[in-house]
Structure formats: structure tokens, C-alpha cells
Subunit: 435 residues, 2 copies
């Protein structure tokens, strides 16, 4: 990443300008990134993007080319340009760690700093959290439905090329086994996978020639795509050429449940009892669930993953919830909130815990407003320190995020596993100092 | 952009590997990028991403860091690594120009080259076209409904940070007047706009103080956000401070039609008859249409634009449609197609024209298969040469794309303007040499 500084809405800089002139730019402030609600019908959400957000924070630097643009377009004054040129976030950030689950009102990120330095982070933080968490939240439902069968992410072609890399990363956090996306492999170390498309079969005179060419370079453990012409012909040819060591066949069209059964019977009859069956073709969590009883060994998921299975954004917002009454680092914080119709906010600094019952099953998301929720309950704290006095504390750890996702999911009541539309599986309770 | 080479699915490189060993890698081939259908209910689509795709093609270079990854992960052999290190696309590409409209089956991009060199472009081309065209297609319906009133793109916060820049670009092609996205301003020269968020009001002791601070730096022509607390109080304060020269007020919540009427009456009563009213808050094409009779002067559109108003991807595919029978540049081309259930393709090189009636109104999208449609009709050719023998012919021209969008839209039958669900507004007709 070069600079993330202009992933920023124009109005953030005009606010900095006005606040500087008004003398309020460095007033101590708390911004909060949170969901007002879950996407309709969803039982839980999955936090992703934290590692990317921290990287963006470290690259939030206004270099000559960014400053030149702002100067030429006269977006801010010389005074603000000087301030931007020296910009380093000096505040602190607490947040839900990557892979954690969330519910309506979960304070996913709590940013404390001067008004201006925290204000300018709004857009880039929202961009990252809103997309990455949308994909992870959809992906989690898919891996839940897939059970022990691996899911392969292959949606790059259906989404913006850089968003696709983020999607592969988010899917991996949500339990996907691998991705087709080479840049995601290079950048994030996610295992990559892939063998051949229909075009490879069509390039050759016969399907047999195409299979021979693929087997020659990739070995018998490869996956042969068997639905370019007749599936039963292709399966017969595949086993004839590779024998029972053939790794897998892929089916990309038709009624997958029926076809998988037919192909399984044919493979078994031909002695290829260990050859696996992979299915692709517009899968989503419901389709995967519907294939649970079919003899399928793995799912390739594309479009519906990268578009968040109907919810391509989480609708997170980033709001000022408290600010100092006066200047200076020790000034008392005043909770602030807007009262706009159907978009009001809840003022005050937030803390959050997941309340568990005696068996360790989640009962509620408890949000303390103004102070930590105090109780003799079995409460698991949710906020960790991500940034202290401008220093990013933790690097990206996708394996830890993957484990956290499974662990947090295991904690939820069983209703979380329902794919039908419903309410959040646990309620959000507020414990406020101000009410 | 540094390198676009790894915005590529793993299987494309394994296909290159197998084709090289089989001796078929350089066989002359035609790939086609096309939509099987429009999103459900849509009447037309808008092509966007062409300029970005050409830039990605020029940056499709495997440098040391990309090659090192492929080598370490043993994704391809040393022979293929050498081939990739020298990769330069040497073929030719024809396509619909940016801003043009499309219909089911429109051959949006026709790529001619060796199999391997054309095959590896699949993912990056699809990523760009699928997202950018999804946003432009949604944006076009919004500007259509907005009529003479300007639309401002402000969706960055709800979509991946780089996708958001592409969205601002696509929206501009579709007639949006400006964007909040500073990086889109810097990179693509799109006008940027923005004034203040609720946090700026909340930062100050009173709304009056916040307005005073904003007016001091931005002048009376600015836009004041009036729904942090009571709208009528805010409007009164705003006009008190700025007088009738106040540029605009923004309303971001509540029932926008009713509120806009109340605010208009109040502004007029206060003598601020020239002060404009901007509305934001989850607008889409239907909401904009519903506000046509309200005294609104501009629309800020965010979420629903960047997620394609329910259709965040176009579902374009990239398929081999013809290949040489033998090696060599002059070998005869054979149409090829897969017959997969519900996903079959139509083999053969495509040409396309928009057939117009005697008044210049579009009647049909006519696709010639194997040769140009020939007729004594009033046919407007749709394919332009984008790349010749590896050389990209045209740079990005967003103003031309904007004009093309309006001109092509003006050519459509009036039913194109219906926001209700319906069929494509013109049929796609095939004229085939092979049938």
C-alpha cells in the first residue's frame, strides 16, 4: 500500500479546516464504529478487516502527490495542508479483534484522539470494515452449512479486483479452506487452488485430449472439469485415463444434488471410490445446506460470497459519541448524540462484554456506556487495545482470527445455525451511567 | 497501479502450464466477455470499466515479486515462469466503448490472441467490468430519475476503499455531477464535494457555534447540515447567521419529501428563496423518483449506488468462443461452445450493431456470429478497436463516456425509463453464419 490518506471524503477535510479556525480541532474526542442493526434476518455478524484497517492507519500519510491535489483543487488552506503533511494518528483505538462475532450496537471500534485526527479516519475505516465484515458474515454461514467439507473461495471475477483480494482474506477468516485468488495468496499467505476451466477443454479437439494434457502436467491427483459436454462421457474418460487415483471431478452446472449422486454412482462403479466430487455454480449458504445429503466433497463459492450473499455492506457507521468540555488531555468527556429522526445515536464511551451462562453459552451482548459493565456474571471482554498513543500494537494474524471465529461461534446458542430469517441470536443490553 | 498480474485465478496459470506442454498454448483463440442476461427486471445496462481494464492490461506484468510467489508456491514450472516473465499481450481487442449501453448477449469485449495470453486475462477483466458496470447501471437509473437535479456520489464508506474509487468513476460516467471521494478526484479528475457531518455540530457547545465556524471558513455559499437536533431550529439559526445568501441546507433523516417541503416553506418565509435543499439518506432510484415533486435541489447517493442498487455484480463471463484448427496466425477459426445444462455458450466470433428505426430509436441489439450483420437498416456499429497487436489505442476519456451514456440513452425507446421490473427494452437478435 502506498498511501491511504485520500480514501477520505471531502467533508472530513473541510471539517478539519473549520475546526482549526474555531480552535476545536484538537479537542479530545471519542468516535465509535458500530452497526445499528444486523442485515435483515441474520442471527450474527463476523468482524473482519481489522488487520487491513491497522495497515491503512499506518499508511495514512499525506505525501507530496496527495498534498498537491488538495492544494491545486483548493480543498483546504495552507494551514491545513501543513497539518496534513505532518499527520500521524497519536491517539488510541480499542476494538473487537478480527474473527470475533458482533450484534446490533456492538462497539466494534472505539477511537480516542483529537477531533481532527480521529475525524479524518472515518471513511477509510468504514470502507474496510463494511466490506470485509460483509463477506466474512456471509462466508461464516456458508462454512457452517458446509460442515466438515471444505469451501473454496473463487469469487474474484465477480467483484472489483482489490475488493476480491479482501474478500478472499475475509472468507479465510470465516473458515474457507483456500482461494482461487493468486494475489490473496501472495499478500496474505492464503492457500490457493485451481485446475482448469471449460476453455481448456474447448481448446482441444476432444475432451480426452484436454484431460490427457491436464493429467500430464498436474498428475492424477488433479480435478477434472466434467461438464463441458456430456457428464457421463467425461467421467468415463476421466477414470479411463487417470484410474482410481483421480483426485476429483468438478461439476459446474445443472441440478447439483442429482448430478452429484449420478456421478458418485458412476465413479464407484468404475472403481474410483476415492475420487472426490467438487461442485461450483452460484452456491450460497442455502444451496450448500441443500446439498448436505448429496455425495459432495467440497464447495467452490464465488459470486454470492463476494457480494455478501445479498448484503454486500454492513451499514456500519462512525460517530462522535463523546468529546471534552474543554481543551487539554485530561478534560472531562461529555457524551454527545444526534437526535435525527430514525437515525439517533447513543452518546458516551462504550465497553462491551459477551455474557455467558454457566455452561459457557452466550446470553447477551452487554454494552457498558460510560464505564465497564460490572457484574458477577461470566463475562468475556470483547474490546482489545489495537493502537496505543499512535502505535499499532498487533500485526495481522489470520490463523488466530480463524480460530477466534470458530471459538466464538461455538459459544452461541444453537439457533445461530439457523439459515431461516430471524432475530439476532442474543440480545444487546445496555448498562448506562447516564440513564 | 503497480502490477495487475496476480488479479488472476490460480487455474488460469495451471491451464497455461498444461497447454504449453500439450503444444496448444499459442493456438489462435477468441475469447468473449458478455452478459448472459440483465439483472432481473432491468431494462438496459451501462458499460463501465473499459479505461481501467486497458490500464490493467498495460500493467499486466509479472515482476520479481509475483514470480517469486509463483515459484515458492510451486504453482507453475520454470518454463511457465519464463513465459510469464516475458508476458506482453500481443493480440487485439475490440469492445463496446465506455458509457455505451448493453443488453443480454452483447459481446462487450472480443479478445483475439494466443490461447495462453488471452486466457490469463480472464479474471482481471471480469473483476473490472463486473463491478464498474454494476455501479454505472445503477447510477444511470438514478440520474435518469433525478432529471436536471444533480446527484452527488458519496458511497465510499459503504464499500471497499479501492472499489469505492472505481464506483465514483462509474457513477460519473452515468451522469453523477460529483463525488465525496478525494482519491477519485485525484486519480480521475472527478469534481469533489462535501461540507460537514453531524460530528462537527456535536463537537461544539451549540449548533450555532458549529454553523458559525463552518461559515467562517467556507463562506455563505456552503451547505449546512440541519438535522442534528431540531430541523426548524437549525434552519432558523442558519438563515440568521448566513442570510439569504446561504448556499444550501442538507437533510439526512426522516421523511425527506415532507421535510423538504417544510424546510422550503421555512426558507422562503425567512427570505432565503435561493437557498437550495440537498437530501441524503439511503437514496436509490425509486426514492429519487418519489422525490421528483418535492422541492429538492440535489441528491447525495451512497450505499445503494456502490452496491449496484441490489445488483452489485453484472455476472459477465469470459468464454472461449473460437479457436484455430491448427497452429499459425492464419489458421482457420472453429467456433466452439460448451453444452453444460443451463450454462451453454454460443460459439463463434461476434460482431454487434444497434439497429435504429427511421426516427433513430433503437429497435434491437443485433449480434452477428461469424461475420458482421449485413442489412439495409440504420445500424450503428458498437464494437471499437481497443487494442491492436498489443498496443492500447485509447486513453481514458471520462467526458466522452459521459456523453456517450446520455446519447445512447436518448436513442432508447421511452420504456427504458421505467423503474418497474420489466424485460430488456430492446431484444437481442442473432444473425449467424453457422445456423
Amino acid at each position: 500500500m502506498t498511501s491511504s490518506a485520500l480514501y477520505t471524503d471531502h467533508y472530513e477535510l473541510t471539517m478539519v479546516e473549520a475546526a482549526m479556525q474555531a480552535g476545536t480541532a484538537s479537542r479530545r474526542s471519542i468516535f465509535e464504529l458500530f452497526p445499528r442493526r444486523l442485515p435483515t434476518g441474520r442471527r450474527y455478524g463476523v468482524v473482519a478487516g481489522v488487520g487491513r484497517a491497522m495497515e491503512a492507519l499506518e499508511h495514512f500519510r499525506f505525501r507530496d502527490e496527495e498534498l498537491a491535489f488538495l492544494r491545486e483543487e483548493q480543498i483546504v488552506s495552507a494551514e491545513v495542508l501543513d497539518w496534513l503533511a505532518d499527520y500521524r494518528f497519536t491517539g488510541s483505538i480499542w476494538g473487537y479483534p478480527e474473527g470475533e462475532l458482533y450484534f446490533p450496537g456492538s462497539p466494534l471500534m472505539v477511537v480516542e484522539g483529537g477531533f481532527a485526527e480521529a475525524c479524518v479516519l472515518e471513511t477509510v475505516m468504514l470502507s474496510i470494515y463494511n466490506y470485509d465484515s460483509a463477506v466474512a458474515s456471509a462466508g461464516s454461514r456458508m462454512t457452517l452449512m458446509a460442515g466438515d467439507r471444505p469451501c473454496i473461495e473463487m469469487g474474484a471475477r465477480r467483484m472489483h479486483e482489490e475488493a476480491a483480494v479482501a474478500a478472499a482474506r475475509a472468507a479465510y477468516i470465516a473458515g474457507f479452506a483456500s482461494t482461487s485468488n493468486l494475489e490473496a495468496g501472495r499478500r496474505h499467505g492464503i492457500p490457493t487452488a485451481g485446475t482448469a476451466a471449460h476453455s481448456f477443454t474447448l481448446l482441444h479437439e476432444t475432451e480426452r485430449e484436454a484431460f490427457e494434457a491436464q493429467l500430464r502436467t498436474q498428475g492424477k491427483g488433479t480435478t477434472l472439469l466434467v461438464d463441458t459436454y456430456s457428464i457421463s462421457d467425461a467421467v468415463r474418460t476421466a477414470v479411463e485415463l487417470a484410474g482410481p487415483e483421480l483426485g476429483a471431478v468438478r461439476i459446474d452446472s445443472g441440478d447439483l444434488a442429482i448430478t452429484a449422486r449420478e456421478v458418485r454412482e458412476q465413479l464407484d462403479a468404475l472403481g474410483a471410490t476415492k475420487t472426490r466430487i467438487l461442485v461450483t455454480s452460484d452456491l450460497d449458504e442455502w444451496q450448500i445446506g441443500a446439498l448436505a445429503a448429496a455425495p459432495v466433497d467440497g464447495y467452490g463459492v464465488g459470486t454470492n460470497l463476494v457480494i455478501g450473499s445479498g448484503h454486500p455492506t454492513c451499514g456500519f457507521v462512525y460517530k462522535l459519541v463523546a468529546r471534552a468540555l474543554t481543551d487539554g488531555p485530561d478534560a472531562e468527556l461529555l457524551p454527545v448524540a444526534k437526535t435525527s429522526a430514525n437515525k439517533s445515536t447513543r452518546g458516551g464511551r462504550k465497553y462491551a462484554v459477551r455474557r455467558l451462562d454457566e455452561r459457557g453459552i452466550a446470553e447477551a451482548e452487554v454494552v457498558g456506556v460510560g464505564s465497564r459493565p460490572e457484574s458477577d456474571h461470566n463475562d468475556r471482554p470483547l474490546l482489545v487495545e489495537l493502537v496505543t498513543d499512535g502505535k499499532v500494537l498487533a500485526g495481522e494474524d489470520l490463523e488466530a482470527a480463524r480460530r477466534r471465529h470458530w471459538d466464538s461461534l461455538a459459544e452461541l446458542p444453537r439457533a445461530a445455525r439457523k439459515m431461516s430469517q430471524g432475530d439476532p441470536v442474543i440480545p444487546t443490553l445496555y448498562e448506562s451511567d447516564y440513564e
